[in-house]
Symmetry: C2
DNA sequence: CGTTAGCACTCAACTATACAGAGTGCTAAC
DNA sequence: GTTAGCACTCTGTATAGTTGAGTGCTAACG
């Protein structure tokens, strides 16, 4: 038997142990694995292999006479090299789309429903990182004078993502001036995000010889105020009840307490998710890899969604480390595809 | 000793039992109460009174040889007739205002922070029912044609509460027509809420002889679409971690599960809160009085806040029935006053 | 009649002990 | 490299005994 065969067998056994542990939540013994392998190996041999896996840091023994439990490294190796990725069939995709019932909804409502559906589907908590205008590309800007010194600045990223802010201005502005200013911004800055638009205008402010200096200055002033209270992105979390119902949190309910507390501090999690989503594709973080106090017992699976080609947000599932990674991965992936499709179709018409 | 004296003594003892139970979370015995009363009565007498209180339905005995625990009715009687209402001093109010740090915030962010502060302060979950434009009074409506068949409808309730929606229209509309239509709506309908505005327009549609029939029809068409995806109100919940950390939920963690699950169904709770806030003033609901499955072990204290004279939303605290009602009541009341003041001051300038 | 001391009684909660069973590591044989 | 066999370890559970907080009742007292 060559090395590769041995390794494959080891992987197989690690997979069986993890998959059993995921459903039972209690240590897995050699006898059980031997039975699963239909006696192609005896429990004694399995035990030898389990010792190897423990030495490799993939398994852990709670106490001498107990079965084995996967470690963070074990899960990591499993998702990277062992589990076979499942994919949703077209029928399941259709069902998922149906769950969203995208009639008469704006983007926020669609995403909220997507979170709820994903949570229901996976029986874990689901989260959505929702886009706001700030990081979207400028489609159109409208300036409407409300009174002599107050102007309404409307930022349009697409049909369904609009933000409006009233801005106080120093010098009065006529309706025509406002129209001209808006046209200036629209034509000059198409294709940038609102955030980048600000940067670009700031740079032009510094290059004082710009022939549109005055227009630039006014635009910048108004946009800065308009965007100042606009968040970069928002986070919805749905279905935490499923997570606290898991045995790891029921046994020790202070874990549930700290978990919920950590989630109330959205900013930290958002930063982490932002990074993961930036990489693109499905990302999984397991236990300590999340590097957030209170989430040591958890894992998440997340992937970005897009409008057209632009990655604008992300969806994911959060649960105990002991989660059904293949299933959850396929659900998250499918949901992101589904959202991307709907948003893109929407954007199109 | 006359009847009133006896009743007062009974109340006093009920109060002591509840206040002890609130901090210890375990049944209260006669000995403890006697000690608290500095031996003005013996434990035997207390026991007799406790039997009365139990027969009145205010107390319950988990088992023969245990102390007493308050019932829902007991808490109700306590908050109605026994507890002395505390109020926040001016110093505490000032501190609360400081916690909100109302600089560079829009209404939503202010309210979210208010929820967080209230949760921190009471060490329970806090919620905010936040206003949306839909139920606010119309301050101004702007219509901006974006293209031949698409019009941007901006609904302004006040500086910080604005909603914008793109509406597809059947017949093309010029810029001047849009301006005229907006002016029509603004002058005719000032003082109504956006919801009522719709109703009013609908009524005028039916009275076909209205001289502005055409304007009414167009307005209605546009506003209906603009408001169709706008929710009536939103609910923020902050700090559920404090609640699940309470012993009643730690002992039986399926209670925590069902509690969180019930809260995910926002609509039901919102309806109930809407009713309570409509009454005005501080409202308290205890246990089953909430009439929501999953919240039997909880109570909430809620009170509306206003902009000027208009009640536009509410804040409250949700926790286990075993909560410090006087303290929480004063915090909720103070926070609502604080929010009202800030929003009203804001509106003014 | 309200109050109180005294006392027997009850029941949850804790402790100690024994025991069954699941699972391991090791050894010797194949 | 694999396996049967076996002694060993440790948890979880069941059982019984003990403790102690708290009650209800009764009889006596002012």
């Amino acid at each position: 038997m060559n090395v590769s065969d041995l390794e494959q067998r080891r992987n197989k056994i690690l997979g069986l142990i993890i998959e059993a542990y995921v459903v039972t939540a209690s240590p897995v013994g050699s006898e059980y694995v031997a039975k699963k392998l239909r006696s192609s190996l005896s429990s004694a041999t399995i035990r030898n292999i389990m010792v190897d896996l423990e030495e490799a840091g993939f398994l852990h023994q709670p106490h001498t006479s107990a079965g084995r439990v996967p470690t963070d490294r074990g899960y990591r190796y499993y998702v990277d090299a062992v589990m076979d990725p499942r994919h949703l069939g077209p029928e399941q995709m259709r069902q998922m789309e149906l769950m969203l019932q995208p009639t008469e909804l704006d983007v926020d409502q669609l995403l909220e429903r997507a979170g709820a559906a994903l949570s229901e589907l996976t029986q874990q908590a689901a989260f959505v990182v929702a886009p706001t205008v700030k990081q979207s590309t400028v489609k159109q800007i409208e300036l409407v004078p409300l009174s002599v010194r107050r102007i309404l600045c409307v930022l349009i990223a697409n049909e369904e993502m609009i933000a409006s802010h009233v801005v106080e201005i120093q010098e009065p502005m006529t309706k025509d001036e406002a129209t001209a200013l808006a046209r200036f911004i629209n034509t000059e800055m198409a294709g940038l995000s609102f955030g980048d638009l600000l940067d670009s205008l700031e740079r032009r402010m510094l290059a004082q010889n710009d022939s549109f200096y005055h227009l630039v200055k006014r635009s910048l002033n108004i946009l800065q105020h308009a965007l100042s209270t606009e968040p970069n992105e928002r986070l919805f979390v749905e279905g935490m009840n499923y997570v606290v119902a898991q045995p790891e949190f029921r046994r020790d309910s202070r874990k549930a307490h700290t978990l919920l507390k950590s989630l109330d501090e959205e900013h930290e999690l958002l930063a982490r998710l932002h990074h993961d989503l930036g990489v693109g594709g499905v990302r999984m973080r397991i236990g300590r890899e999340i590097q957030m106090p209170g989430l040591e017992e958890c894992s998440y699976v997340t992937t970005p969604f897009a409008i057209g080609e632009d990655m604008v947000g992300g969806v994911g599932v959060l649960g105990p480390k002991r989660m059904d990674y293949p299933h959850i991965r396929s659900c998250v992936e499918g949901m992101a595809r589904c959202i991307t499709e709907l948003l893109t179709r929407w954007e199109g018409n």
